[in-house]
Amino acid sequence: MIHGINLPAIRFKVLMFDTLSVPALFAVAMQSRNPRHTMASAAAHSTAFEELALPLLPSLYNHAFWLTRNHAEAEDLVQETFSKALRAFGSFRPNTNFKAWIFRILRNTFLTSRTGIATSRTVFLEDHPDVLDTTDASPTPEDNLIRLDNQAALHAALEQLQPQLREALLLCDVEEVKYKDIALILDVPIGTVMSRISRARRTLRQLLQPQFGEIQ
């Protein structure tokens, strides 16, 4: 029913532990042989990277802030992401999803930070297949009456969401990333992505439910 994952997740594994992939290492090795050629190609390489990365800066920063909850840490996270991504840019395949690729690096960089390590220690029940959503997660007509105009309530509800649910929901609703690419970014099966999004939406509705009735 849902589109499957076409890209091999394995190629991103390299980035998690060492941002210099095989093609990038090859490029570095070639640099010592022909400096003039390498300088020109490195400049073209970084220009291509900049053209792809610059438009994503606002999105990366917004997402980094949601992960770190701190301006200084968000800036550091984006900065480190750019550094790692540029070094690994040789392993990026043209015509594949650059946004998913760089968000994946952002997330892996976050997970190796102090805040990220603390967050990743939390285990969520919904990721275990035995207890996947069994209740109806779809909205009822009464949900139409929830006051979506109340931005403060929405912000508060988003902040109360478990970080892993919020992350999946933000990638889907804010960044408009497809399920298969969210699966790549989060390094989880597509079924887990769907489960997290479903659970995040249900929790948000429950958190906003006390607003019910105020418009009467």
Binding site: L54, Y61, N144, R201
Partner: protein, 259 residues
Amino acid sequence: MTQIIEHLNPETLNAFIDDELQASEQQGVQQHLAGCHQCTLRVLSATQHKAATARAGHRFAPPADALARLTAQLHREPQRTARIHSIRPIAWTALAAALVLAISLIGWRQVHQSNALSAELLDQHLATLSSAATPQVISTDRHTVKPWFQGRLPFSFNLPDSGALPPDATLKGADLAYLNGQPAALLLFTIHKHQVSVFVVQRTGISDNPAFSRIANNRAGFSIHYATTRDLRFIAVSDVNPADLDLLVSAVVKAQSPG
């Protein structure tokens, strides 16, 4: 093509609003929705939640100094690997890029908001088309419809007399709606059997969202026309002839200054 007879399950509903279904599945869902008011309401509610989450999630922009540093970093990175540029041109280019980015950041947010808003308008209009959708107030009498909004909206507006409406245009009723997080009056008209939704929102100070003025004039075959008075904004959605839609919008606007 897959014909869905049972009500949409949560998984299908989420995949539908996230545009994750294959074309044949999507067609099956649309066929089901055409005849199922209950599922149409669920889809509308879920779409509104999604749009509201998108708005609330676009929350953190980099401060100007952080934006300049990050933009400069993108320009400086080749320096580390190639070492062929002097720092001064890089600094100027970085500054220019930061400015361009700051402007495009504003543009990006506005375009995103406008697209989301026109989708929201169309969703709400489509929900009113379902044969089972009953307006909260059903009346062709403006003296019934207008007072119904008292206490439900933080503003007031006038409705044109039936004689002032364009030929073959009739007021059918009204709903209370929310548009881009603002309370709105949703006035339901028909013109030559085409249904028309006219949204009325307040236009004061900071709540006058600039995204409203950038809504596309048509979306998915429906015309979207809008007009403003000093205090109010009117947005009309319909598949009727655009000229007839304009006449109706003009009549509603004219009613705001009866003198």
